[in-house]
């Protein structure tokens, strides 16, 4: 429960702040917030309501502005944001592929090739997410697309549902780390580092994280061996490849339209929908009823996310209004510690903030304060950009608050508890953090490639 740690940190910060300025301590209030948060999660309150009510309480206790008077605008701006438009489009693409039977064919084909490996089809989750990340700049879109394609396939199989969900969430959390990614563009803008160099620097860390994910699945596969299906003759295997063709063409359409300069990453999602419908037509599955059912499912999953966005942005607005991220960053900057310890505190700060905040505003509120400290400590700006991106991705899959996990939960057909997702993502979260640790020990993982390729400023 990183969220709780965060609130306790807030408590510590306010004690320090109060000690410095001699103001009265809002300890009782903060303890109350922690309690409210715990009780709500335990009681099974809607996540949007937990976030939103917490925001309202923070506003009532800490803000001296009429924040409610601006709430309509606060909620309207992000939910009508063009950058998010890709999400329902990718969801819709997935629904159409599912109902046209194309996702099943993709997975059957891959299964023929992978099912004798320990961990089997779970590897495909990571691999396909990694491929998709190379098209998409958004973790949520990656998880949404691959989740809608993959989840139905695991229905009724012997695979551990938690691992299935965990691997898809983890795969989604590659969306921003594997270039292109929105986080890098934003970080580049804020810190005047080259986006191109950041992309190159991210390649090896991304490969490292992907490899660690595969290793997790491999180990899981060894420890929970499944009955190995009989070996198939090569001919059958080769023939199975033909089932990959429609999906490959679709990926080519989405990727090609971006790289060929016909469409932006958001627009490509729309092409994906039309392409999926086209393949459904070829399969003879395109009908009004089918599109109608896909549309309804998309509406449901978009609304589910939208409601959480409402709660999250409400909380986000109030936290920034009372300057929480800035105050915490400034506090860490003033700590009398050696550089590596300060860097660890910064990483801890991002992990804690990430449980609550959306990556975009988290970067923007903290980077201006944190970045000069990082540079003063002698760290490489490009290396730090990769670290920040990894931390933003980690935030997406760190319970209890992470959009990627909610997207997957929203797509499950068996509707078990959300804790399945939380539990499943844990081993992947652990190795993601391990990767951050490795990057701290060997910064060269990020800085070597840009140096070799001569794209450092």
């Amino acid at each position: 429960m990183i969220a709780i740690i965060f609130l306790l940190l807030l408590l510590v910060a306010s004690i320090i702040g109060a000690a410095a300025t001699g103001q009265a301590l809002p300890v009782a209030e903060i303890m109350m917030l922690v309690a409210v948060f715990l009780v709500f999660f335990g009681a099974g309150v809607y996540i949007a309501a937990v976030l939103g009510v917490l925001g309202v309480l923070i506003g009532l206790i800490f803000s001296d502005r009429p924040w409610w008077a601006f709430m309509g605008q606060t909620l309207w701006t992000p939910t009508s944001n063009y950058v998010l438009v890709a999400v329902p489009l990718f969801l819709l693409m997935g629904e159409i592929l599912l109902r046209a039977g194309l996702s099943e064919r993709l997975y059957r084909a891959l299964n023929v090739w992978l099912n004798r490996l320990p961990g089997g089809l779970l590897h495909t989750n990571i691999a396909s997410c990694a491929v998709f990340s190379a098209i998409s700049g958004s973790s949520v879109a990656t998880a949404a697309t691959m989740g809608s394609v993959a989840l139905p396939f695991f229905q009724g199989t012997a695979y551990n549902q938690r691992m299935v969900l965990g691997s898809l969430a983890a795969g989604g959390a590659l969306g921003n780390l594997i270039p292109p990614g929105i986080t890098f563009i934003l970080y580049g803008l804020m810190t005047e580092t080259s986006v191109g160099a950041l992309y190159i620097a991210a390649l090896l860390p991304a490969a490292l994280v992907t490899a660690l994910f595969l290793l997790v699945i491999f180990v899981h596969g060894l420890r929970h061996p499944m009955e190995k299906p009989p070996k198939l003759p090569l001919g059958v295997k080769i023939r199975a490849l033909s089932d990959l063709v429609p999906t490959a063409l679709l990926i080519l359409l989405v990727l090609g339209s971006i790289y060929g300069g016909f469409a932006t990453a958001t627009e490509a999602a729309a092409l994906g929908v039309v392409g999926a419908a086209f393949f459904a037509l070829l399969e003879g599955k395109l009908s009004f009823r089918m599109i109608n059912a896909s549309a309804e499912a998309t509406a449901r999953n978009t609304a589910l996310l939208g409601l959480i966005l409402f709660g999250a942005y409400l909380l986000n607005y109030l936290l920034t209004t009372i300057n929480v991220p800035q105050a915490l960053s400034a506090m860490i900057a003033g700590l009398p510690l050696p550089p590596w310890a300060i860097m660890l505190s910064i990483i801890g700060l991002y992990i804690a903030l990430g449980t609550f905040m959306e990556g975009f505003s988290m970067i923007i509120t903290t980077v201006p304060v944190v970045f000069p400290i990082v540079i003063a400590l002698g760290y490489d700006p490009i290396w730090f950009g990769v670290i920040v991106t990894m931390l933003v991705e980690i935030a997406q899959i760190s319970p209890p608050d992470g959009t990627v996990m909610y997207v997957l939960q929203g797509m499950r057909r068996d509707r078990g508890p959300i804790t399945d997702v939380f539990a499943g993502v844990m081993p992947f979260l652990a190795v993601y953090l391990l990767a951050v640790g490795l990057m701290m020990v060997w910064p060269g993982i990020a800085t070597w490639l840009p140096l070799v390729m001569g794209s450092v400023r």
């Binding site: 999660f41 335990g42 009681a43 099974g44 309150v45 809607y46 996540i47 949007a48 309501a49 009510v53 008077a69 709430m71 309509g72 605008q73 909620l75 939910t79 009508s80 944001n81 063009y82 438009v85 329902p88 489009l89 819709l92 599912l98 109902r99 046209a100 039977g101 099943e104 139905p152 339209s257 016909f262 958001t266 999602a269 729309a270 092409l271 039309v274 599955k285 009823r289 599109i291 109608n292 059912a293 549309a295 309804e296 499912a297 998309t298 509406a299 449901r300 999953n301 978009t302 609304a303 589910l304 996310l305 939208g306 409601l307 959480i308 939960q409 068996d414 509707r415 508890p417 959300i418």
Partner: protein, 181 residues
Amino acid sequence: MAHVAGWNHVACALFITFDIVARSLFGFSSQATVEVTGYMLAGGIAWGLAHTLARRAHIRVDVLVNRLAPRRRAWLHILSLALLLGLSVFITWAAWELVDESALFNAHDNSALRVPMVVPQGIWCFGIAAFVVMAAVLLAESIMSVLLGDPEAVDALLGARTLEDETAEALEAVAMAKEAP
């Protein structure tokens, strides 16, 4: 309403595709894609909210709840829904204030279409208001059930979806894929 929201997403895909094709082949662009698709997203979210609640798909952390006795569980369901209702009443009020302010300003967006902001914001606000009505009706129904001594009925209204519900739905989707062309 959910169908309107869903077809709105389909329309959004077609609109953007049209814009790409028109731009690439005919040197023509709607000049309002960014704005209009953003409004479609906001409307799609808002109009899907009520349906998603009725289908019990909004996300909760409900492990603990499901281990309780039916009567206590029913009251926790009611507490959750009441909090959600409270929050959504507030959001509806905030959305209405936004529409009202846009009307006061006679605000338009900066796209070539000069869309009056009260239109997309009004549609958005209406969707959220429908969500409030749905939540209120469900809440009233749940409280009635508990008072009438039928706490299991609350589970059916608000509880996490059961395996049977979901299997039925998944089978429907897969069946659609298996249908003869």
